[in-house]
Amino acid sequence: MEKEQTWPDWVRERDNPRIAHTKPEALDDITVLDLSYKSFAGCYCSSLLAEFGAEVLRIEPPEGDFIRTCTPYGMLYKGEGLNYLSEGRNKFHISLDLKKPEGREILKGLVGQADVLIETYRPGVMDDWGIGYEQLGEINPRLIFASITGYGQFGSMSRSRMPDYDNITQARSAVQYTTGEVIPEGKSYDECPWAVPTKAGPWIGWVQAGTFMAVGILAALYWRGMTGEGQALDVATAEAYASFDDYATSWYQGCGAICERFGSLTTAAWLYCFAPTKDGAVFLGGIRLEMWKAFADMIGKWDEWGAASWTTNATFTEKEQQLKWSRLIFAETRKYTNKELVNMSVEYAKKGRLAPITPVVAPVCSPEETMKDANWLERGIFTPVKDPVYGELVVAQAQHKMTETPIRTKWVCRPVGYDNEHIFLKYMGFGPSKLNKLKKAGII
């Protein structure tokens, strides 16, 4: 065993994102057709595969995917929406009109050569076009056919006309209902429009669903490797997000309790909250009993609060206890800045009574502070990508690091149909004259 190196040094030498391009790619034997439309979940799913080297053919209608127009405040950069700009990564972009029979015939040709197809049309649309799972499965029995929609492929709501959007997923999962400020007593919503059920800002409803589907696709690929058989996969975005909820449904089933908003405290965990400070707020974490004790010690309350005698955190999660203890704690945290509290925790890990145990203290950052934090820069999260079309761009990347087959971002995005020539030649043998004809006919 290589003993001479410390563990961090050993890993860093092997998983630093800066050397990712020198390593092999895990999925470079896989071809993926991404037909997703009006859905960031689909785009995100295929990004996760493209990062691993899968050849993803992003298939859009000739006018482009509507999702490209879903951009903050309508802002475009070099003609592109900012969300799409960050998740077009590593994909080949081709155009194909699936509403035309000729377009669908070409798709069938691609399907015969593909491993995975991702689509997000309303259930039934692909079947009506003659390119549903059952039809394409005939052409390619090894095909993994992945559908991401709001309500899924079966069950009574699957016939709903309603489209799938992130905020709807956040609403239908029961997560939004339970997050938000508690309305002050005697006040109305009109007086406190901020004390309402609050969704997450980022498109978590979409990205988690796309990620679930990526996991499903990879599991289905493993099974295909064992048996040679493809299959159909079905993710309903609201189900996927609801499944992140750890405790609300068994709580309800056990005693009828409905999980309600609790501000920045946490119904099922103590110590676990945001706390105000002199210059902002910090997160405090001490779910493990010893960490809660360490926090009490760190702020000089070990004796006064009788921390030595605590035996479990479970009783501290009771509502009245949480309200009482959070008041006591906030009075203390207000005496310090974010930086002071963070340093106290780092120092406590070295010299405290319970060291190396120490509470989690994390500053609540604006994304601007996050993007400038030397730690993340060093870890390769915000390394600008030099894109041939869009220039040097910052997108978050390298979210997991691997010693053998690391992910990488080769390019961030492409305009609609940018890769038509290369891809149609490579897969369909269409040269310039044939492409011209197809273009004139509005098929690509």
Binding site: G155, M157, D245, P367, N375
Partner: protein, 449 residues
Amino acid sequence: MAEETWKNYKEKKHFKSSPLKGIRVLEVCTLVLGPAGPGYLAKMGAEVIKCEIPPKGDVAREMVPFGYFFRGQAPGFIPININKYWLGLDLHRTEGQEVFRELAVRSDIIEDNLRPGVMDSWNVGYRQIKEIKPDIIYISKTGFGPWGQYAEENRPSNDGGAQAFSGYAWMSRFPGQPPLKNRLFVCDSYGALMGEVSVLAALHYRERTGKGQFISLSQNENIMRAMSWVWPYQQITGKVAMPAGNRDVSICPADTFLCADDTFVAIAAPAPEEFRGLCTAMGRPELADAPRFKDHLTRLQEENATEILKIIADWARTKTSEEVEELAEKHGFAASRLYTAKNVVEDKHFRERDFMTEVDDPLLGQYLEYEFPVMMSKTPPKVKWSVRPVGFDNEYMMVHLLGKSEDEIKHLYDCGALGKWADMDGRRPPPGWDGKAGLILARDREGKE
């Protein structure tokens, strides 16, 4: 919709194979970020052996909403620990480490979420395990990864810390209000899920090449990835990205509205036909053609978005959330009331799809649990059994998997390498347990007698 494909999905689920059949996972995980990942694999048929330090085990065994235990178990512990085997193994002890190594050579995947270097100090780190099992896939999920300034400071982390550090919480509030922590352990659950993307990609690579590898996932870095536009926006404009409450600044209209019955409804209608549908539903079809609203990019501009959202808000205040849902269905835009836990449990559609699936557990009895939310036509994920006390399957693991004799097992207990639960809520069996239900080996013996 492929009707033949999904016909009788729920009824036939348990007649079909599982996608990860034959894959064995060793888990040394605690709380949510760690256990949730192997939990996803277990629902897809992997054999997951959860190693806990006896007698108290996983800290999530105390994650109780307002102090409430569900049939003696912590609700926050249950959904992420389905279908697992339970081993009470003390890795501080040499004999415990030896047992772990015996299990490791029989495993495909190892997952931990302890602070970097801890597994190493127990002689079961990646470098030590790959000596005896070269193709092992080994993932370590932490706050900051094994290297970098925060890792060097050996900072602990958890979900709320990642919500804070990443800017996620800062972006998820109403303007002018203090940052708001999401009630979900979203950076945990989502970090765990992303971890499995890399684990399964590594499995694919191992099938091709015979090579294993080490993976590290930082829950902080992972949630940043989920924040898409925020980073290029800040780079391009030089401005900080701003929160906007329930309004989606990238989709218009998309917001949450207060209804006549004092409930809330989320609405989204950005695409041309959807927006037209909403305007028609509001009795204002002319708005769909107004120059400031007609085109999505124009409508998204601050002034126009504010105006149209105000129009919708005033209209929604005159309807119940149910009426808005009906109109959405009729006119083809999206709307949903804000579901509660009760709605999720009782939703007819979720039951029809078996997303909320019935468990008939020998220890916890009958209740509804989340299915892994990727329905698979030939290899459906399946919830089979629920959580167990610390060390509940020790005998089964030692005898069936490692072939140990009764004397050897006794020795492992005597030296403290093996252990069982503490006599506390969340650790011990549910009240009224008969001493047998759910025990695998006990049932084996009964069968022989």
